[in-house]
């Protein structure tokens, strides 16, 4: 299986553009300053600042339509920002787009593969377009097919006959053909079954840990961001609402969270008043606001008091659960809703305007 030794493969044969700007060796992979993008009346991305360190996995978490894909398209040079500036691998995304393209590998949300071609043909063509000679492109194709576990597939099989998981893995391989130092993965596991998802996660970890590739990952799955990312930015309606390591973000919310369920939103409100002062912070949430979440440092000590007070005002509890705060709580705190609930809304047009030109 797999790629040669563990050293970061940032140098080597690659035909890097001849502008080794000072920042190429910088420890920041992506720096964005007040990037914005408007489609008609829709503010898809709103004054986003980003500072992504090299060598880590950066998770970009948000619900459908939050602007994740739009931002990825901007940073990968296929969509111009309405305002702001950004550098990727030290190159300006607008003035030096060609250099950016050499430095990054991209797997977009809508897997873009020609279904009439075979995996090998796609990989070889990709390599050659990145300037490899034929034999080298063939060798790379063979190696990457091993890496993403597609080497055993019938080489004559056309991509149109691949399963969703196989297509994602091939798409990932295509993003790696030219040995990029930064890889953008836009919702790499959305719609995949758990096994395929685990395989992609494994590959992302290997890329990052073993090959030293910086990974910029967008996802709407809390678990994915939590498991993979060293650092997370949470985006909602085009704006970054929280930014930090998953642990630090969760600590900010509180040590533990207690979720209380009530019969209706009115009771939940009354309960919030009755419990005032017990928790460091509380928040109504859930469908129709029937849930009340309390963030505190010592749930076990406080629960009896909660029950006593609710008894005192004669409000019946319908459920109670204690958990450690998750990124969902971070999201809830920043936006007032749970990520899992936002996603039940139909995706709006902000994320993935397919094609390239957008509205002209």
């Amino acid at each position: 299986m797999s790629m040669d030794a563990g050293a970061p493969r940032r140098t080597g044969w690659r035909s890097m553009p001849a502008t080794p700007s000072a920042s190429e060796s910088s420890d920041r992979s992506i720096v964005a300053e007040r990037i914005g993008r408007t489609f008609g009346d829709l503010r898809a991305v709103d004054a986003v600042d980003l500072d992504v360190p090299s060598g880590g996995v950066f998770g970009f978490l948000g619900p459908n339509g939050a602007g994740k894909s739009t931002l990825v398209r901007i940073l990968t040079t296929i969509l111009a920002p309405s305002e702001g500036r950004a550098t990727v691998a030290g190159h300006d995304i607008q003035r030096d787009a060609a250099a950016v393209r050499h430095s990054i590998g991209v797997a977009l949300q809508d897997v873009g593969l020609d279904k009439l071609m075979t995996a090998r043909e796609l990989l070889v063509l990709q390599g050659r377009l990145f300037g490899m000679a034929g034999t080298e492109a063939t060798r790379t194709a063979r190696r990457l097919l091993e890496t993403v576990d597609l080497a055993d597939v019938d080489p004559r099989k056309r991509v149109g006959d691949y399963s969703g998981g196989m297509k994602r893995r091939l798409d990932l391989a295509l993003a790696l053909v030219h040995d990029p130092g930064i890889v953008f993965l836009d919702e790499p596991t959305s719609g995949l079954d758990p096994i395929s998802r685990a395989a992609i996660w494994e590959e992302i970890r290997r890329l990052n840990r073993r090959d030293g590739v910086t990974v910029f990952l967008t996802t709407q799955y809390l678990e994915e961001a939590d498991r993979l990312a060293d650092e997370v930015a949470i985006i909602d309606r085009g704006r970054i609402v929280a930014h930090g390591s998953p642990d630090a973000l969760k600590k900010e919310v509180g040590k533990e969270s207690v979720t209380l369920a009530f019969a209706d939103v009115g009771r939940a409100h009354e309960a919030e008043r009755a419990l005032d002062g017990l928790a460091a912070r509380s928040q109504l949430t859930g469908r129709d606001g029937r849930d009340l979440v309390l963030y505190l440092s010592n749930a076990v000590d406080v629960i009896p008091e909660i029950v006593r007070r609710l008894d005192g005002v004669d409000i019946a509890l319908q459920g109670l659960s204690v958990s450690r705060p998750t990124l969902d709580d971070v999201f809830l705190r920043a936006t007032g809703v749970r990520l899992s609930e936002v996603d039940e809304a139909p995706p709006d047009s902000g994320t993935a305007a397919p094609g390239t030109g957008e509205r002209s």
Partner: protein, 254 residues
């Protein structure tokens, strides 16, 4: 340049994998040649008609092959845009215009092969070219330019609409181009005024004229120059539109 060759190679390979997209246009052209030649060849007995009807109808088969073959360019491009592969290619350092040239040249190659096959078939059926082999080659050149003009048009529509159905619908321009012309009889035999008028403003008429002059009358400067002006003019016009649409689609400045 290398990029363009790679993209052409890829387009050709992919086109060959879609017999459903390529064979019908060849079949239609052969149909024109056989059916019209068999059914209408007595037209050649009319007073004043010069040459064989086979030589007269051959340009119709050729232009039909060229126009429908060229439509492949737009169809291929729409296929790439719809699959998202177009975006994937935009993420490579490949020259932007190689993404357009691939389908264009593949379609052109395909139509030249098709046209050559049809001419060979006509020769087997007894075609005698008044200008010999050089004339037949020139007929292919005319077909090539006319096909490119139509390929430019189909690429333009494809990039404008990014929609397979629209690109498909756009190929219906094929019908007025082929039939509102001196398709079956020379102009002097067209009895309806509106059709004669339509034939005069239809650029295809001048392509037919040029090809027929080569096949029937021998070397004559006038129809060849007019025909050349028409095909080059149209190819330039639609090629320009296609390039502009391509720049827009790949530049993303807004």
């Amino acid at each position: 340049m290398n990029d363009i060759l790679l993209m052409i190679g890829r387009s050709l390979r992919v086109v060959l994998r879609q017999p459903a997209a390529t064979l019908p246009s060849l079949a239609i052209s052969v149909f024109f040649l056989f059916v019209y030649n068999s059914g209408l060849s007595s037209v050649a007995d009319l007073p004043g008609f010069q040459g064989s009807y086979l030589a007269f109808i051959l340009p119709v088969a050729i232009v039909s092959a060229a126009v429908s073959g060229a439509g492949l360019a737009g169809q291929e491009l729409v296929r790439d845009v719809e699959s998202g592969y177009f975006t994937k290619l935009l993420l490579t350092p490949a020259h932007r215009l190689s993404l357009i040239w691939g389908p264009m040249v593949a379609a052109a190659t395909f139509l030249v092969v098709q046209v050559a096959l049809i001419i060979v078939l006509a020769v087997i059926l007894g075609l005698e070219s008044a200008t010999g082999l050089p004339g037949l080659v020139l007929v292919i050149v005319f077909a090539f330019f006319w096909g490119m003009a139509f390929a430019g048009y189909s690429v333009w529509i494809a990039l404008k609409t990014r929609n397979a159905a629209a690109a498909q619908a756009a190929t219906f321009a094929f019908f007025p181009l082929i039939f509102l012309s001196t398709t079956f009889v020379p102009e002097e035999y067209i009895t309806s005024d509106w059709l004669r008028w339509a034939a005069r403003i239809n650029p295809t008429t001048y392509v037919f004229d040029a090809m027929r002059s080569l096949l029937i009358d021998g070397w004559q400067a006038r129809p060849l120059l007019i025909g050349l002006a028409v095909v080059v003019g149209f190819a330039t016009l639609t090629g320009g539109l296609a390039l502009r649409a391509a720049r827009r689609a790949t530049q993303l400045t807004r």
